[in-house]
């Protein structure tokens, strides 16, 4: 099959930020409607900044690499900045993904956004930013968890 990029394999072999956070400020758990896999992202937020991001993924090599990559991309960013990370950004940062694997990078972006949404909700904050981006079609919204 079409090969994964070197960068992608590197993240698959040494995934960053694996695991869970004690008392996370937000949790996003999304299922991949395409192939039935599952991804979870937990975040720690201080002064509007993502100070910690952790993931756990049940899925293919691309799903693991994209989750690992998105934790790196999101860490240290403000919530607003993190909401702007798209699946394209993740794929680019991994030096591309085989076309059939693009839906896996969706999963990573969705899980991150779902975790931020969860954070907002816990704080009774408005989700304007989130909803707006969803309207623009930049976020697919939550996926039903099939597993």
């Amino acid at each position: 099959m079409k090969m994964y990029s070197r960068k992608c394999m590197e993240h698959f072999r040494n995934p960053r930020n694996v695991g869970t956070i004690e008392n996370p400020d937000g949790v996003g758990r999304v299922g991949n409607p395409v192939c039935g896999d599952l991804m979870e992202i937990q975040i720690k937020v201080e002064n509007g900044i993502l100070t910690d991001v952790k993931f756990r993924t049940f899925g293919c090599g691309a799903a693991i690499a994209t989750s690992s990559m998105i934790t790196e991309l999101a860490k240290g960013k403000t919530l607003e900045e993190a909401l702007k990370i798209t699946r394209g950004d993740v794929a680019d940062a991994l030096e591309g993904l085989p076309p059939i694997k693009m839906h896996c990078s969706n999963l990573a972006a969705d899980a991150l956004h779902a975790a931020i949404k969860d954070y907002y909700e816990r704080h009774g904050k408005k989700l304007e930013e989130y909803e707006e981006r969803k309207k623009e079609g930049l976020i697919d919204g939550e996926k039903s968890t099939k597993t």
Partner: protein, 390 residues
């Protein structure tokens, strides 16, 4: 790094003895078997010699019951469509199982768009077709039963003899896909009442790009490739001479060595299955523990996905396979595992290990030692289990 190759079901190396037999037929013995001159006659002889060897491997009564094709996919297409189009007078009903290879499935899907009715028989948890259910599915319209000798994915060996007898009693043509079984099990088309048998050369450690269809004398089919009328008009196109010669040599070797090789592989298989089941938690064998191909072991590991497992094993130098949805072109879980009643999420964690002529004891030991490491690595990443509870 040395590669421990555990993916013989997807591709097998060609036996060096086969390559040696083929070599002259690329150059000095290149003649067209239809030509009248000396070099053409030699090619003709070489092809007929291969036909005899392959006929003997499956105990066909006559060598001319075999025709050469470009591989098992073509053989299966020719058997199914060729028979279906020939028997339009009798009816348009075909009986098969839910766990057939994609070649059979898609050929039948095509026929269903042309007005044929297909009955897909369910299988039990091991992947067995129930002969009684098969018997009940046959109607006056039924023209064909198509079942695999053994399933290439989960290894289950069907009760082909019993199904063949039913087909014969009911007067229905019986097609068997023998791709996974050829060279591993001793196939007897006479004893098992098989009318059509599809298989390919590479499964016997012969070259790729050549296959055969056994057509019992008296079974009539339509060609699907038209042209110069080679292979009794059933498969036109210049013969793949070196391929056919290699196929014949591979069949000859398989026949001679099968008994010893099958028991050697069975022993390795059982060791592999026992080792993996013992050294890992939350793992099950897919298929039947004993009524399975001697070279096939198929597991499912809970909480993890198969493609990432295959990638991880590849880093350890192990070549393996999975039928996880993530590796399929359609991103759908294995229809075989689903038909056996395995939940889709569990089917995601399948690992298929297939051995062959060059698999050694230390390969099996290496795999037994390394699979648990790969599984652990992925389970630590999995959101399906509570942390630390691997």
């Amino acid at each position: 790094m040395n590669i421990v190759y555990m993916d013989y079901a997807s591709s097998s190396p060609v036996d060096p003895r086969v390559i040696e037999a083929m070599l002259p037929y690329f150059s000095e013995k290149h003649g067209n078997p239809s030509s009248v001159h000396q070099i053409g006659r030699e090619s003709f002889e070489a092809i007929e010699d291969s036909r005899r060897k392959i006929a003997s491997l499956i105990n066909a009564e006559r060598p001319d019951e075999l025709i050469f094709t470009s591989g098992a996919t073509e053989s299966i297409n020719l058997a199914i469509k060729g028979l279906a189009f020939r028997r339009l007078d009798k009816g348009k009903h075909i009986v098969t199982s839910k766990i057939e290879h994609i070649s059979t499935m898609n050929a039948l899907k095509f026929l269903s768009t042309k007005g044929f009715k297909i009955t897909y028989l369910p299988v039990d948890e091991f992947g067995f077709v129930d002969p009684v259910a098969l018997n009940d599915a046959i109607t006056r319209e039924t023209i064909l039963i198509s079942i695999s000798y053994a399933n290439g994915e989960v290894g289950t060996i069907q009760n082909v003899g019993e199904i063949g007898k039913i087909a014969r009693d009911q007067g229905v043509t019986f097609h068997v896909d023998a791709v996974a079984a050829i060279g591993k099990l001793s196939i007897d088309v006479r004893k098992d009442c098989i009318d059509l048998l599809s298989f390919s050369s590479n499964d016997l450690y012969g070259p790729k790009g050549v296959g055969a269809l056994f057509i019992r004398k008296g079974t009539k089919i339509e060609p699907i490739i038209h042209g110069g009328g080679q292979e009794r008009g059933l498969r036109s196109g210049s013969e793949n001479l070196p391929g056919i010669v290699g196929f014949g040599k591979a069949a000859e070797i398989a026949k001679k060595e099968m008994e010893v090789e099958t028991s050697r592989l069975t022993e390795l298989r059982d060791k592999l299955i026992k080792g993996i089941l013992k050294k890992t938690e939350n793992v099950w064998l897919n298929g039947h523990p004993t009524k399975r191909l001697p070279n096939n072991a198929n597991f499912r590991f809970k909480f993890i996905e198969g493609e990432s497992l295959v990638l991880r094993l590849s880093d350890f130098g192990i070549a393996s396979a999975t039928s996880s949805a993530c590796t399929s072109k359609t991103l759908e879980p294995s229809h075989v595992l689903l038909a056996m009643g395995i939940p889709a999420a569990d089917a995601q964690g399948s690992l298929l290990l297939t051995m062959g002529r060059w698999t050694q004891n230390e390969d099996v030991e290496y795999v037994i030692d390394n699979v648990p490491l790969a599984v652990d690595f992925l389970r630590k990443l999995s959101p399906l289990i509570p942390q630390g509870d691997v």
